[in-house]
Structure formats: structure tokens, C-alpha cells
Point group: C2
Chain length 178, copies 2
DNA sequence: CAGGAAACTTGCGTGCACGCAAGTTTGCGT
DNA sequence: ACGCAAACTTGCGTGCACGCAAGTTTCCTG
């Protein structure tokens, strides 16, 4: 695995993107979405407001991106944690259930934030669902080729059982994929 | 006093300049001047080697600049600390003496570094003497106009008495300046 | 509902950071 | 003394960050 190291420019770009996401989420959690100015996020991330809009084309996108990124890494981790011999179907459902049952630091609050605010919800649905990317790559790694699966899961009174039920319909698709 | 705040670009430029100076001095003190690569300084400051040479045109300049900057601020502080009623002559000599007698953290080591290494000495003398700028501004503030004074003081076995002696010739010039 | 202020988003020109490649210096081993 | 290798310095082209100004949205107030 040649760990292709990106050059300095690339690293800095990623760093400011992450700084912006992080700052946006933190501020939104601290004082509520309505009280966060673009200038505040930019300042907290150490860049100009103009630069914010070079990375995100709306005020909400950064917040959504932050949550999305969090969940992407968590899903990837959860999938990687599954032993290889576990059937694909079970691995996927377990990984997703894991997210909703064992939340990280501000994960719950962030989700609440997004599901509460209309603008955030809209921005969230604009992005391809947060769970798609890491799942497809994980699945692709298991199988030989790339299949796409699209999941929309909005947690309303969510319990592990509810989740399993909601994910059950996917089982045949995943099985036939192999 | 309208504290004219420089814009973000300016602040960032100053920041990286300072980061470079700081990194250069720290590394030079840690491992000796000979074992410091330009790339190391740049990396420690978070910029590319190319950028180092946008700020300093030689490997030694950053180290020298670091010491120079340190001394500039210390001289400025020392001059500011003098009560206004103290005669100009005494204020200047006291400020300079203060530098050599009550050194800061790595001030001594830094000076030793510079006076030891030939390349550093050369680079140091290339820059207008470290003490000039803050002194002239301080003096200018006291008088109404701008006078220039050039001091070359290389501390060889320096003692307060030696310093006072060396600075004595300046007294008449400073007195007539008023 | 009209008017206006504050915040947002975007096009544009400028300046700095970067990577690259060429030319130069430095220091070392033979 | 010679040649080589590593490090340094600099010109050049490209891309990103910034400031600015214009157009738009949003929200509040009369």
C-alpha cells in the first residue's frame, strides 16, 4: 500500500476545510445555528469570509459537512472493525446500528441540530446521504466491484430494533450482490 | 493613537515571518547552526522551503533576524520603561546596559551563537545593527524630529562598565541633539 | 405592505505560497 | 586537486487566499 503523500498545498487545503467544518459545528452547537455568522466561522478557522465561500457555497453546508464527515469516519471504522468472515449483510447493519446506539461526543446533539433546523435538513438532503460513500467503498472492498446503495435514515425515536427493521429490506440486495 | 489594524493578509505574513524566525533560532540552539537545513526551518514553520526564501535570502538571515527582533523589542521595552524626566543620554545608555545585564531566556545563548559562527556574524553585520531601529524611534519620540545613530557593539567579555565606556562617546551627540 | 439594514453569495483583480527545474555553492571522499 | 553529492538560492508558472464591490436574500420595523 503506497501511502501516496499529498503535497503541502493539498494538505493545507484539507486542513482549512476541516478547520472550517469543525468551527462551524462547534459554534452551531454552542450558540445555535441562527446565531452563527459566516464571518465567525471564518475567523475561528483563521481564514477570510471570502475563503469560506471558496469551500462551501452556503452557510449551512459547513455544519452539515462536519456531521457528514464525522459519520463517514465512524461508518468506515465500524465496517473495518467487523471481522472479514461476518456476512456482508450483518456487517452493514451492525455498522449502521453501531452509529445510532453508541454515539460519539457531540454526535447526538449534532444530529438533533440537523434534524431540527429546516435549512440544515435541506442542506443535508442536498448532499448525497452521509452513509453512502463509506459504505460503498467498504462493500466494494469486500466484493470485487462497485455497487451503489442509497440509504436515507432519519432517526425519529430510533431504537436498535427500529433500525434493524428499517435496514432489513436491504438484506436481499446485499446478498444477491455477492 | 488610532491602532490601525492591518488586514488579514498582513497579519498572516507577519505570523509566518515570526514562525520562521522562531523556528530557525530554536533549531539552531537545539542542534547547532551547522545541522539546520532550510527545509527543517520551513517545515517547523509550516511552509514550503521555497517560501522560506521568499522571506529570507539566505539560510542565516532567519536566525539573525530572530535575535535582532528579540533585541528590538527588548530595547523598545527598556526605553519605554524609562521615566520621561530621565535625561536622554542616561535613558539610552541604561536601556542598552539593561539588555546586556538582564538577559532573557535564550538571549545569551543566541548571542554566543551569532558571535561564534562566522557566517552568522557576517549576516548579522549585513543587517543594520540590531539596536538602531528601536533606538532611533524612541529618540525621535522624545525629540521632535528624526536623528539617526549607528551603534556597533560586539560583546567581548562585556561588563556593564565596558558598555558604559563604549557608549560614553555618544553622550555629546545625544545632548546636542536636544 | 413598503423600506431598509444586516448578512449572504459571487465575480474579479491582486498578491502570496507552492512546486519545479536550473544554476550555484559547499563540503567531503578519493 | 578533482569530482561528486547534498544543500542552497532563484526564476517561472500555477493555484489558492484575500479584499472589494455588486447583486441577492432575509428579517425586522414602521
Amino acid at each position: 500500500m503506497t501511502q501516496e503523500r499529498p503535497d503541502l498545498r493539498e494538505r493545507k487545503k484539507r486542513a482549512t476545510q476541516e478547520a472550517l467544518r469543525e468551527a462551524a459545528l462547534r459554534l452551531a452547537l454552542e450558540r445555535g445555528t441562527a446565531n452563527v455568522r459566516v464571518g465567525d466561522i471564518a475567523e475561528a478557522a483563521g481564514v477570510s469570509p471570502r475563503t469560506y465561500n471558496n469551500y462551501f457555497s452556503s452557510r449551512e453546508q459547513a455544519i452539515v459537512a462536519a456531521v457528514t464527515a464525522q459519520r463517514e469516519t465512524r461508518i468506515a471504522e465500524a465496517m473495518a472493525a467487523q471481522p472479514a468472515h461476518v456476512p456482508l449483510t450483518d456487517a452493514v447493519t451492525a455498522a449502521i446500528v453501531d452509529i445510532y446506539t453508541t454515539p460519539g461526543d457531540d454526535d447526538h446533539a449534532a444530529l438533533l441540530l440537523i434534524t431540527t433546523d429546516p435549512a440544515l435538513r435541506h442542506a443535508f438532503l442536498d448532499t448525497t446521504a452521509a452513509i453512502e460513500a463509506p459504505l460503498t467503498t467498504a462493500i466494494a472492498q469486500r466484493l470485487g466491484h462497485t455497487d451503489r446503495c442509497l440509504l436515507y435514515t432519519v432517526p425519529t425515536g430510533s431504537l436498535p430494533g427500529l433500525l434493524r427493521a428499517a435496514l432489513a429490506p436491504l438484506a436481499p440486495a446485499l446478498d444477491t450482490a455477492r
